[in-house]
Structures are given as structure tokens and as C-alpha cells.
Symmetry: C2
Subunit: 403 residues, 2 copies
């Protein structure tokens, strides 16, 4: 490859890969690594580690995984590292308490579910999957002391979540210091060229960079991705907060959830969860009606996890049910054996649309409860259940009663 | 054994053993351990650990070793633990800097010299000697994590020498946290009933007490001995400060050094380095002339490391040379091939009495240099060396010239 072509290819890969990154430590070294990789036809080893502590992936988790896919598409070698050993410790990052150790049975179940979902994002057949118990289990006390000798107390205590807890007088177990050190040692074992992670992983990923140097190896590039904000536009996306889109959500759910976000958040998502080029996104922002832009975003998302066909169908479903008030579409059907029921009971107990009667009451009084498209606002109303009745509650709950 | 006799024996042992201790944690538990031991005829396991980092024992080191001897004489089982593994880390206690790891060759040489000197104090044939590399070398990462999980950062940082260094912005390596933890784990391996150590070891010895509880074993008693003050009466006794009496010092040196201490320090030494009963010491303090009391102390010390005969000889030597000015005693002889020599050269180069010419000069001008008991104060004097000349310099240097 000629020098000029080489530089062009370096820049092309660099531009693709830096998209959506919050920070790359450091950029010059990263370009140099790409240059050497392309020149010698040696794929970069790109480490991304997870702890098998949970298993339901949402599109926030998918952000770095899709970055990994980009590396894969460019011919590099993503290494998906499963912290089978470190999960026993638990990474305290961002947590305000010492975590419990996990049992091996739970860990194995989580890995299975995790890899199963990974297929939706990466070419799993071409993916190197490693488990860190392979090397960590055989470390002995001398090895551990050698690792510990590379770090000082002040360095560890400087980590934000540690210092905050210490200042608040909350206990930080010594075992927690080991997590970043062992995560760093994984990079030594894997000879990682790049480690990918969320911004909150910066401290840990930098420790890998330190340790590679300590072991006389080329330091890894730290590639830090922002943490995806949840549907509420405020908190980070998380299952426990309920503000998430799961990668296994149905196309209709994905569509509906995207339609519920704010216009500002929509453009954050455009950049972080799709591959649409930045200039095209600018174009959309300027010239497309927000409602239309949001539908396009929803379709792009569904295309990633399903197909173009399913994206179109989800759009049609949404438009039919929620926009055009056309009730001829095929609706989910629910059998209820009762002849009549109080509408609060119906919403909370039988249809499970709401968790509490107070939530249901609010929707009803605000006119959000409709039977055959007519609002019923009386919370004490008792409904006679007949075959074919269409029940709507709020913006996204709709069923047909089957007798 | 009857209940009454048992209690009497418990109290007898307790009173012997508590002598010279600064702190026992805790006393009630210790009595209970003694009671159980006597009742079931099961010797207490008494751990005393050293790091084979140095090898010249002085009578300060001997303080806990003589306590160990008391346990031995009472039928208990002293365990002399050599930190063959932990020496590689180095205990930072009382040090203001991270220590260097020691090589195995140095460690082995030190152990040999150490055990050789130990014979002077303990019955080494009845002594259990253990090396902590035996169990620490086989610890793996999981074991280490388990140990680390028992301690918090705040707990470690609370140790005085750590907190001082951290406050001063000096580095504390993470490896140093391991020392007290591993010292504690040694107690678990040894099932220690008692751990003996200097007061500065309190933090570390308490960690052993913690860990025994964590491992569902009976917590060890912490028996803390004061650190012996050196001959200067100010600093702790240490080889590097030169204020020490080595256990291998000659009887004459021991005698001379004891005679040089202050009257106050003499009674501290009476209590800490001899076995003379406390009431007898009180008697001496009240009724004996200080010079005579000091001579008695010197003899007691020599009796411990040598014999009564050698103690008497040392006393005679001291009295003859330094007190009675009687030169008929057998003096050390020195051959010098020169016919004449400047007296400065004689003292510094040939006799090595002083390290610098300025020191020698001072002694001479002050009249401390004597030939056949006549002072020569002229520093430029050149002495004609003849067989039989007796050279004295200062209070403690005396030789006879042999031609």
C-alpha cells in the first residue's frame, strides 16, 4: 500500500471508530496503532469486558457492542471478555456499596443469556470470547503481591466512588481495590491494543494501560463511550429504572418507546444508537418534521435488531392504532370470564396496565380510559364485558375483549 | 487438680508472664486460656514472629525472646515463626518508606545467624520453628480475595504509620496493606493462642485476632512488650544507632556498657532484662549504692548469656582496669611492627580506638591518652614503641604493646 493510500485508510477507519466516543486516550497513539495494523495486516485486539452479573441487554449496553462491531467490520479482532472471575468480586464502579459475590451457577446462566442476545449485534462466530478465570484462577500470592506493588493507596483512593464513600464514612472493602487491578491484568494477558468501555470505566481502563507498561508491553488505547440516557432524558438507561429499550423488545414496543422520547433526546439517540452519518443527521434536524424524524429513528432502531420489513410493520401498527384511530387493525385479545367489572379492577387486576389503583384512577379521571373510543371518566363505573369491546388506557395500552 | 490449686497455678503463671508486658488483650481471656491449658494439660501455642531481615540480636530483641523462654519453662509451646514469605514484602511498621523486597539468599543467611544466637536465650531443641512460606506460597487469588474481604480501607489507613505517610503525601504501596493481613493469617495457620510482640506490633497482632474470629477460631491473646530503650536512655535500642548491647558482646563489653548507663535507666533494665523479682529490685533501689547496683545488673546480664564465673571475671576486669588502676591484670596485647609512631596514628590507624583524628586529638588534649599511666597531651608526640608499654585511651581502651 502506498503511503498516501495508507494515510487515507488510517483516517477512514479513525473517523468511523471515533464516532460517538467521549474520549480516546490518546488519539495520536490510536492513529499510530491503526497505521501499524493496516501496514502489517495485523488486526488490532480490541478488548471489551463485561461482568456476567445481569443478562438483559438494552440499547444502552449495545452502544459499545456496536462499536465492537465496527472494529469487526474493519477487520480487527474484538475480544469479548467475560469476567467470570472478577464477577465474584463485583466492580464497585458507580455503586455506593460493597457488592456481594455471585455464585457460579448464576454466572453461567447469565453468560448463556448474554451471548444469546449478543448475536443480535455482533457476528458471534467471528468473535473471540475469553473468560478471565482462565488466568486469574492460577495467580498465586506472589503474583498478587507483584500486581499490588505497582499501585499506591492514594492512587486507588483517588477513584471518585471510593473517595466519596470514604468521605461519607461508608466502608470500602480492600477486595474492591482488586477489581481495577485485575481488570488491568486481563489486558496484559490478552495483549490488548484497545480497551473499550463506558466513561465511568475510565479509572479501571487506565489501570490496564499502566499495567501493560509495567509488564513492558505497548500500552492499550482507552476508548471511552458515553453512557446512554434513558427514555426519560434524565437518568442513565437502566432496567431497574424502567427507562429502557431492551434489545429483545418487540418491534412495536421499540417503536412506541422511541415515539415517547423528547425531541432533544431523539437527536442524541440518532448519533449514539444508529450509524446514520453525522451530516445526514444534521439534515434531518434542519428539514424533517420532528414527528417524522422520530418515526425514522424508530425504524432505524428496529432495522438494527430486526429487519426493514418489521420496521415498516411497526410503523404501520403505530400509525393505525395511535394516530389514525383505525380500529380495524388486529388487536391483542384478552379473555375475562366475568360478566361485569369495575373499571379500576379491570385496569389494575385483569389487564395489569397499571401497578396501583391510584395510577389507574388518574388515567381515568384525565379521560385516558376509552371503551370503543369513548372516554369514561367515572372511576366508580362498572363495565359490562361484551365480546369485541376495545379497551384503551393511556397512550400505549390497547386490547380487544374476547368472550 | 483441685479447683483451689488450679486457681493458684493460673495466678502463678499469670504473674510470671505478665511481668514486663505493656498490654495484654485481654487479661481475662488470657487467664481463661491458662486455666483451660493447665486443666486439660494442653500447652498454649505462643507465636512470636520475626522477619529474617537482619541478624545481629541485641538485648532489646531478647526481651520478647526471654518472655518466650518463660512460656517454655512453664510447659507451653513457643512457636518461633520466621517470615520467610512476608520478608519479601517487608513490614512497614514504624518505617517512613516502602521497603525493598529481600532476596532468598540474604534471607537464608540471616536465618542461620539468627537461630545461632537464639540458642543463647531459648532451649532451641524444644522450640517449634516454622516458616510462613510453607503456607503463604500456596495461597491463590481466591484465598487472597477472601482475606482482603475481611478488611476495609479505613481500617488499614487508620494505622498510624500509614496515615502519617498519606497525610504527608508520601506513597504507600498497596502491597504494604498485605503485611498485617498475612501476619494475621499466620496465626490462623498456627492456631495461635497467644501472639507476642513489641507495642508497635499492636495493629498487626490485632489483625491476627480478627482473622482467627473470621475463621471461626478462638481469638489469640495479644501480648505487647515495651521497646527497650538504648544505652543513651533516649532512643530505642538499635544497632544502627550504636546504643546497644549485643547478645554476642563479650562479658567485658557487656559489663562496661552497663556501667555507662544512667541510674534511672539501670532500674528500667533491671525490670526488663533480668528475672530478678520486682520486690527485690525495689530493695536494691532503696538500699544499694548505685555503683554497686549497676555492677550487680551487669553481672545478672552476663549470667544470662554466659555464666556466673564469667560475670565475676568481667566484674574483676572492670574493677582492676577502670577502678583500681591496677595494671598487673592480663591485658589485651597488640603487635605493631613500627619502631616509632605518631600517637594520633597509633590511636586511629593502628589501634582503631577512634574513627577520626579529631576524636583522637580531643582525647589526647584532655589528658585521656596515657602511656604506662602517664598522660601525654602533646598531639604531635611521636612514641617510641617498646615491648610492654601499656597504652590507655579514654575510659575503656587499654592494650599492652608486644614487640
Amino acid at each position: 500500500m502506498e503511503e498516501k493510500e495508507l494515510e487515507k485508510e488510517v483516517l477512514r477507519q479513525y473517523n468511523i471508530l471515533k464516532r460517538g466516543c467521549e474520549e480516546i486516550i490518546n488519539e495520536a497513539e490510536f492513529k499510530e496503532k491503526l497505521r501499524k495494523s493496516i501496514k502489517t495486516n495485523t488486526p488490532l485486539k480490541v478488548k471489551f469486558g463485561i461482568d456476567p452479573t445481569g443478562s438483559d441487554l438494552h440499547i444502552g449496553h449495545a452502544v459499545p457492542l456496536r462499536k465492537l462491531k465496527q472494529f469487526q467490520d474493519l477487520g480487527h479482532e474484538p475480544i469479548f471478555l467475560i469476567g467470570t472471575f472478577t464477577a465474584r468480586i463485583g466492580d464497585p464502579t458507580g455503586k455506593s456499596e460493597t457488592r456481594k459475590m455471585l455464585g457460579m451457577d448464576v454466572i453461567e446462566k447469565n453468560i448463556k443469556t448474554y451471548l444469546d442476545q449478543l448475536k443480535l449485534i455482533l457476528d458471534i462466530d467471528k468473535l473471540t470470547v475469553r473468560y478471565n478465570h482462565e488466568w486469574l484462577e492460577s495467580l498465586n500470592l506472589t503474583d498478587v503481591l507483584n500486581l499490588l506493588s505497582k499501585f499506591t493507596v492514594s492512587q486507588m483512593v483517588a477513584r471518585e466512588d471510593f473517595s466519596k464513600r470514604l468521605e461519607a464514612g461508608k466502608p470500602v472493602s480492600l477486595i474492591e481495590f482488586m477489581y481495577p487491578i485485575l481488570q488491568g491484568y486481563d489486558s496484559v494477558e490478552l495483549n490488548a491494543d484497545v480497551e473499550l468501555g463506558a466513561t465511568e470505566q475510565k479509572f479501571n481502563i487506565l489501570r490496564g494501560r499502566d499495567l501493560l507498561k509495567d509488564f513492558d508491553k505497548e500500552p492499550q488505547i482507552c476508548m471511552l463511550m458515553p453512557i446512554l440516557v434513558g427514555l426519560d432524558g434524565v437518568e442513565k438507561m437502566s432496567k431497574s429504572l424502567g427507562n429502557y429499550i431492551g434489545v429483545k423488545d418487540t418491534p412495536n414496543d421499540m417503536f412506541g418507546k422511541i415515539m415517547s422520547i423528547s425531541d432533544d433526546l431523539m437527536f442524541v439517540y440518532y448519533e449514539q444508537i444508529t450509524d446514520i452519518p453525522i451530516d445526514e443527521i444534521e439534515e434531518i434536524k434542519k428539514n424533517m418534521h420532528p414527528m417524522e424524524a422520530k418515526k425514522k429513528l424508530a425504524m432505524e432502531l428496529i432495522k438494527i435488531y430486526y429487519s426493514e420489513k418489521e420496521a415498516l410493520e411497526a410503523r404501520e401498527y403505530f400509525e393505525n392504532v395511535f394516530s389514525k384511530k383505525n380500529l380495524d387493525v388486529e388487536l391483542p385479545e384478552v379473555s375475562i370470564s366475568l360478566d361485569e367489572v369495575s373499571i379500576i379492577d379491570l385496569l389494575v387486576t385483569h389487564l395489569n396496565f397499571y401497578k396501583s389503583t391510584s395510577e389507574a384512577r388518574r388515567v381515568i379521571t384525565q379521560g385516558g380510559f376509552k371503551v370503543n373510543d369513548e372516554a369514561i371518566k367515572d372511576i366508580s363505573h362498572v363495565l359490562k364485558l361484551e365480546d369485541g369491546l376495545v379497551i384503551k388506557a393511556g397512550k400505549k395500552n390497547i386490547v380487544r375483549i374476547k368472550k
